[in-house]
Symmetry: C2
């Protein structure tokens, strides 16, 4: 193979891009390192120059997702015009939106992320996102408890429950996505929408505030995001060669 030298950061991002595409389409376990380097058009030596292991690749991928998920959160935290409830709502909306949209950079990715074999990857992403967002969430809840807006004895616990909701939806969507037909898509969307409503109310009640106080996203939000993505599948990245496995 001819030797091509690129800017290190570019190459690293390229590797991450191809890894993301392959992990999402085949799952972390089934997508082999050889597949990744083949897709990226790079030798093994080059790969191990950038990453110490395949596991590290997964980690880096999760971090990249998390970093994206955290973007913009600072503004919300600093906004003096927001009370605890407003701040919580804004953070939740931001977090959920960032997670969905990051994961759904292309429709194909979004669809495959919810396949059962991607549970590990999804969990990693969720964990990484939680790690970066959770402390802020705890702080906001604590503020709300202090000024009497919220009513709970365990802010960390509530934050965990909130972050957990993302994971809970995985099975719901995975099930409905199973066949991939339009009808099943509709079912999936409805189920997810309903589930979001329940999470909002659950959170309201856990925090001891009136039903409807928490708004993760407007009704129809899930459908809007998902159908928009579907209409515009955009670039899916690597043209992974078909294999029989």
């Amino acid at each position: 193979m001819p030797r091509v030298i690129k800017h290190p950061e570019l190459r690293r991002e390229e590797l991450l891009d191809h890894a993301q595409a392959l992990f999402l389409t085949h799952g972390y376990d089934k997508a082999s390192l050889n597949d990744v380097i083949a897709a990226a058009g790079v030798s093994k030596g080059a790969f191990y120059h950038y990453f110490p292991s395949k596991e590290a690749l997964l980690e880096a991928l999760a971090e990249r997702f998390a970093k994206h998920a955290l973007a913009g959160v600072q503004d919300i935290l600093a906004d003096p015009a927001l009370d605890p409830l407003g701040r919580l709502n804004a953070l939740l909306a931001k977090s959920r939106q960032a997670k969905i949209e990051t994961a759904a950079e292309a429709w194909a990715l979004f669809e495959t992320l919810f396949r059962p074999e991607n549970l590990v990857l999804f969990h990693r992403i969720n964990l990484a996102a939680s790690a970066s967002i959770s402390p802020h969430l705890v702080e906001i809840i604590r503020q709300g408890v202090d000024d009497g807006t919220f009513r709970t004895f365990d802010p960390e616990g509530v934050a965990d429950i909130v972050m957990q909701f993302g994971l809970a939806t995985h099975d719901v969507i995975a099930k409905a996505f199973a066949s991939g037909t339009d009808a099943d898509m509709d079912i999936a969307i409805e189920a997810l929408e309903k589930r979001v409503r329940l999470y909002e109310i659950a959170l309201d009640r856990i925090l001891g505030i009136p039903d409807g106080s928490i708004r993760i996203g407007e009704p129809g939000y899930v459908r809007a995001v998902m159908t928009a993505r579907r209409a515009n599948p955009s670039a899916s990245g690597a043209a992974a060669s078909k294999k029989s496995r």
Copy 2:
């Protein structure tokens, strides 16, 4: 090796036993098939006579856990003396107890199940248990909604949240278990106990019933189970040979 022929069901159970011990001590990924068959004193051919793949072994293991978790639930469902709340409490207590005690058949198993590398195994078990218990949970909640005891528009969603709680505890415990010292153990137990209290109240509020109505286990229950196990480590199963890896 001399050929030993055993009753098929016995051999299958034996394989599951050794797989359970090894998966829990080394994690699903790190415990190789060769380790399992070596521990069971069986050839590769024999193993593949009983299971189509290593993955199937994990599946079968999860099912066995789930089956155990479901034991006794029938009595609760049939008991005419219980109202929806009582039934829900009984089922929750049963479910959680069964899960903890099944997983904790020996202290060592309990401790290792919460190691990060066992997340997949834990998730499988949780999923399998959910699949068998969840329908009953939904039915009970629905009964409660019908007779006005509970207040929710999405019984399946609530059931999912309930089953999700088990998964949420994994990270909490895993973190505190990290070092393995007595002090960290105490922290883990306290954290878990506090978390259980929160889940109870969260469930109360989600269902629109007074705080304290739901009882997953008495205060001190977690500590009782865990310290009891510790004092009596019992049989850990296969004497897996040390390896450096």
